[in-house]
Amino acid sequence: MAELVELSAAIEELVADGDSLALEGFSHLAPFAAGHELIRQGQTDLTLIRMVPDLIADQLIGTGRLKKLVYSWAGNPGVGSLHRFRDAVEHDWPRPLELEEHSHAGMANRFVAGASGLPFAVMRGYVGTDLVGPAEAGGTLAFVDCPFTGEKLAAVRAVEPDVAIVHAQRADREGNVQLWGIVGVQKEAVLAAKRSLVTVEEVVDELEPVPGAVVLPSWVVDRVAVAPGGAHPTYAQDYSRRDDAYFVAWDKIARDRDTFTTWIEENVMRGGEA
C-alpha cells in the first residue's frame, strides 16, 4: 500500500548514494520537483534512467549527482543541446559521465521487459547503426536468432531501476494513482522498479475515470507525495501549461558553468521551486 508522505521524506527514505533511478515522463509530467529535492539532499553516484533526459537531467549532471546516464535522446526539446550534458561528455565537467545509449524503441522495450519480469525484450532494429558497438560492449544489446523463423533480431536488456519516480495528475487517499495525456513509459518504469515514488498535483477523494488514463494501483506504489506544479517547466495535462520560455531561457543559463551553478544555488538549493 502506498503511503502518503512529504516529498523530502520520500526522497530521503527511498534514494541512497549509488542507486539507479528511473525519472520518467516523456516531456509531459516530468518529475522536476522530485529531481530538485534530489539535488538539495545530495545523493550522489546515481545512475539516471530516462528516455528523454531534458533539463532535469542537465541539472542533475551539472551538479555532479550522476555517474551514469541511461537514455535515448538528450536534448532541450524545441531549443537544441543540453549544455551541461555536452560539457560532461566532451570535457568531464564536473565529473566523467558514463553513457548507456539506446534508441527510443530500444529503451521503451527495455522498460517493457523490466515491467514484465523478463531479462530482455526482442525487436527489429539497431542492425546497421553505430549504436550497436557501444551497446553491445556495455552488455545491454545482443542479436539473437528467432527460434521459429531464424530471423536475426535485436535483444535489449531489461532495465531494473532501484527506484522509479514519476509525476501524475492525482491520487486518492488510498494511494491509487491516475495519470493521463502523454503517458510515456511511466507505468512500465514503476512496475520495473524495486521501489517507487509518485508525486501528484493533488489528492482527491475519488478518482473520476478519464479517457486513456493510466491507473497505478496503490499496491504497486510505495510512496505518494503531493507536489503541485511538480512537473514544471513541463506540464500536467488539464492542470498546467508547458513553460516554453523556461526551456528557451535554460539554453543561456546552462551554457556557462558559473551561471549554471549560481542558478542552481538561487533556484534549487535555497528551497524555492524554480
Binding site: 516523456f26 516531456s27 526539446p77 550534458f85 534508441s103 525487436m123 558497438g133 502523454i182 495535462q237 508547458r242
Partner: protein, 257 residues
C-alpha cells in the same frame, strides 16, 4: 536560369517535402522542419495526411507548430494517445507508417543519417548531439524515409561520423542484407536540391534543383563526385498559398513562445 527567390532555406525545404506527401498517407513526424512540412501539406493539398509522433500521439491536427513531441498542440488534438512502447512496437514496427520525416545533423552519400556525435571519438566527441530518439526505428520500419537538412560542408558529408539511422550502411547496397522492412532514408531534400537514392542501393543522386539553384552549386556543396540525373529540372517556385501557410505557422510559433 531563374533569379533565386528571397525565400528562407528552411521554407524551401519544407515546401519541397510537403509536396512529396500524399493524402491519407501515415507520416511519422519529428519536431522542427518535419512538422512544418507535414502541417503545410495538411493545410494545402493533403488535408487527410495522418500525423503520428513518437510520444504516442496517434493522428493529430495541431493548430500551431509543436515545440516538443509532447506539446499540447499535439496531445490535445489527437485522435488517441498511446503509451510510448505501443507507439514503437504496434504502430511503427507493426508496419502502419508510410513515410518517416527526419531532421538531422549529418547525412551522407549512402543516405546514412548522423545525429549522435560529430568529430573525435564516440567516447570523447568534438560535438555531442542529442542522439537517436526515435529515428533509427523510423528509418527501419517506415515504408520510406525523407531527410530534411540545410546543405553545407558540415551537414552533407561523404560518410557520417556515426550512423544513427542506417541508409545503405558503409557500402552501396549494404541495406539489403540487414533484414529491415523499410526502404530507409531514400529521399534527401536540402535548400539546394532534391537527392534520391539510386535504385540499386547506390549513392544519392541529384534529381531536382530548388528554384534558382544550379547543378554547379549542388556539386560545389557536395563533397563526393555527385551524380546528376539527365536534365534534373527545377522545382516550381513556392505558391502564394504555401507561403501564406508558412507565415501563419511562423506567427503562431512567435505567439506561443
Amino acid at each position: 536560369m531563374s533569379e533565386a527567390p528571397d525565400i528562407p532555406a528552411d521554407d524551401l525545404i519544407a515546401i519541397a517535402v510537403a509536396r512529396t506527401l500524399r493524402d491519407r498517407e501515415v507520416a511519422f513526424v519529428g519536431i522542427g522542419l518535419p512538422s512544418t512540412a507535414a502541417i503545410l501539406a495538411r493545410r494545402t493539398h493533403c488535408p487527410n495526411l495522418v500525423l503520428v509522433y513518437e510520444s504516442g500521439v496517434l493522428e493529430t491536427d495541431p493548430p500551431r507548430l509543436p515545440l516538443s513531441v509532447a506539446d499540447g498542440a499535439l496531445a490535445e488534438h489527437a485522435l488517441a494517445l498511446v503509451p510510448v512502447p505501443e507507439m514503437f512496437n504496434y504502430w511503427l514496427a507493426g508496419g502502419h507508417v508510410d513515410v518517416g520525416l527526419l531532421g538531422a545533423a549529418q547525412v551522407d552519400r549512402l543516405g546514412n543519417v548522423g545525429s549522435t556525435v560529430v568529430g573525435g571519438t564516440y567516447g570523447r566527441p568534438k560535438v555531442r548531439l542529442p542522439g537517436a530518439g526515435g529515428a533509427p526505428e523510423i528509418g527501419a520500419a517506415a515504408r520510406h524515409t525523407t531527410v530534411m537538412i540545410r546543405q553545407n560542408a558540415r551537414s552533407f558529408v561523404s560518410d557520417v561520423d556515426f550512423i544513427t539511422t542506417v541508409g545503405q550502411g558503409r557500402a552501396p547496397g549494404g541495406r539489403s542484407s540487414l533484414g529491415l522492412p523499410g526502404a530507409g532514408p531514400d529521399l534527401v531534400v536540402t535548400d539546394i536540391g532534391v537527392y534520391e537514392a539510386a535504385a540499386d542501393g547506390g549513392e544519392l543522386q541529384l534529381t531536382a534543383l530548388q528554384p534558382g539553384r544550379t547543378v554547379a552549386e549542388a556539386r560545389e556543396a557536395t563533397p563526393w563526385d555527385l551524380s546528376v540525373v539527365p536534365d534534373p529540372g527545377e522545382l516550381r517556385p513556392p505558391t502564394a498559398e504555401e507561403l501564406a501557410v508558412l507565415a501563419e505557422l511562423a506567427a503562431g510559433e512567435a505567439g506561443a513562445a
